[in-house]
């Protein structure tokens, strides 16, 4: 049920006339649902602004929330949901803050015509549903952001030595993470011009075929680019699984500890550097 132009105008006038009482009553109700997690003054301010938003939308004879005069109100509602979502309030608590406006209106003026009130009420319902939608959207963004941050956190690529970088993998490797690790490692090789990389899997609880595949692909890709990968930190159980699963590590160098891997790489790098001189010195 949409608001007709004069219904909207009547309500705009009412909301304007009784603003103080309305905001106070509204704030009381919201405060009781939020149980003191937002200060009274803060709520009072928020509700004051929202009331102005409602009033402007109604005064502009917005028939529903999608109408042009309600644009400002929509922005306010989106903002409210966004802050509430980030402050950790639930979706219900956020929506109820808007529903409470209806009670406040009903209480503030006796003798409102029922027909008018129902139309007004559905307008507020729309507003509350709108906050619900925005709330969900903000939460989804938050979750996506956090997932991404977690990926970044959990895949550091560190420079161990001149020309040697290492990725200490910690936790379960799923396909998405493995992909990120792979890309990050290869990019670091290019950025630092390091011809050696050590993938340390001490912190990986289990290796299945998929994880092994990802590691193998990384090693092959690094080789194509002209870098060597060494896998270190293979625990006994993991070695057993690898063999049991029939995964071929081929000619990829594997070491039991990061220290061994580094020693191996340094020896290899030294050999390359000095091959010329040492050969010349030999009789």
């Amino acid at each position: 049920m949409t608001l007709s132009a004069d219904e909207a105008a009547r309500f705009a006038a009412l909301v304007d006339e009784h603003q103080e009482a309305l905001v106070t009553a509204w704030t009381e109700r919201v405060a009781s649902t939020l149980r003191g997690r937002l200060s009274h003054a803060e709520l009072q301010r928020q509700n004051g602004e929202l009331r102005r938003g409602f009033q402007q939308a109604l005064a502009g004879s917005a028939q529903d929330l999608a109408a042009e005069p309600a644009a400002e109100l929509r922005a306010q509602l989106a903002e409210l949901s966004s802050t509430r979502a980030r402050q950790g309030f639930s979706a219900t608590e956020t929506a109820v803050s808007i529903f409470a406006f209806k009670d406040a209106v009903l209480n503030a003026f006796d003798g409102v015509n029922v027909r008018d009130y129902v139309a007004f009420s559905s307008f507020v319902d729309e507003a509350a549903l709108f906050t619900f939608d925005s709330y969900v959207r903000v939460r989804e963004e938050l979750i996506a952001d956090q997932a991404e941050q977690l990926l970044e956190l959990s895949t550091p690529v560190v420079k161990l030595w001149e020309g040697v970088v290492a990725v200490p993998l910690v936790g379960t490797l799923d396909s998405a993470r493995a992909q990120v690790v792979m890309e990050r490692l290869l990019q670091t090789l290019v950025d630092t011009g390091s011809p050696y990389a050590i993938i340390d899997i001490t912190g990986v609880p289990a290796v299945d075929t998929q994880v092994a595949q990802h590691i193998l692909k990384t090693v092959v890709a690094a080789r194509l680019m002209g870098a060597d990968c060494i896998i270190s930190g293979i625990r006994p159980q993991i070695a057993q699984t690898i063999v049991a699963l029939g995964i071929e590590f081929g000619d990829i160098a594997t070491k039991s500890s990061l220290a061994d891997a580094l020693r191996y790489v340094l020896a290899k790098a030294g050999q390359n550097k000095q091959s010329k001189q040492s050969k010349r010195r030999e009789p």
């Binding site: 792979m182 890309e183 290869l186 990019q187 090789l189 290019v190 011009g193 390091s194 011809p195 692909k217 092959v220 890709a221 690094a222 080789r223 194509l224 680019m225 002209g226 870098a227 390359n272 091959s275 010329k276 050969k279 010349r280």
Partner: protein, 141 residues
């Protein structure tokens, strides 16, 4: 048709592929390089593909052919600067570029060539020392 320039730096020919090559251009490069190796007597070829945002099986095959031809003409080939995304794609595509040596950048590529040349020269010197024979004549046109 565009052409990929081949530069001579010391004992090395440097090819930096900066364009999205059509197949004919790649084949032309293959010919040009063979001619230049013989004309200059260079023993090393560095092919920089850091500007290529894809390497498909045709370009991959051309690179392998270039490496093989160079080998026959007594020059080592190093492909340098492959982008990570390209390497990942090649792995997925199933192209492992056998017979092609690679390095992360031009500098490391030139080091690799210098090292191999040094090893090779040493072996020749050792061989000379043992039987005291003359360095065998090299067939060039």
């Amino acid at each position: 048709m565009e052409r990929v320039p081949v530069l001579k730096i010391g004992d090395i020919l440097l090819v930096s592929i900066q364009i999205d090559m059509e197949d004919q251009v790649a084949l032309q490069l293959q010919e040009d390089l063979a001619d230049r190796i013989v004309a200059t007597g260079c023993h090393g070829v560095v092919i920089d593909i850091s500007a290529l945002d894809i390497v498909d099986s045709f370009v991959g095959r051309t690179l392998a052919t270039i490496a093989a031809i160079s080998k026959v003409l007594d020059a080592d080939t190093v492909v340098v600067g492959m982008r990570p995304a390209v390497a990942i794609t090649l792995v997925e595509l199933g192209l492992s570029l056998p017979g092609i040596r690679t390095a992360l950048n031009v500098e490391l590529g030139m080091e690799l060539l210098a090292r191999e040349r040094a090893d090779y020269d040493d072996e020749e010197e050792d061989a000379d020392g043992e039987d005291g024979a003359e360095t065998p004549a090299v067939f060039t046109s």
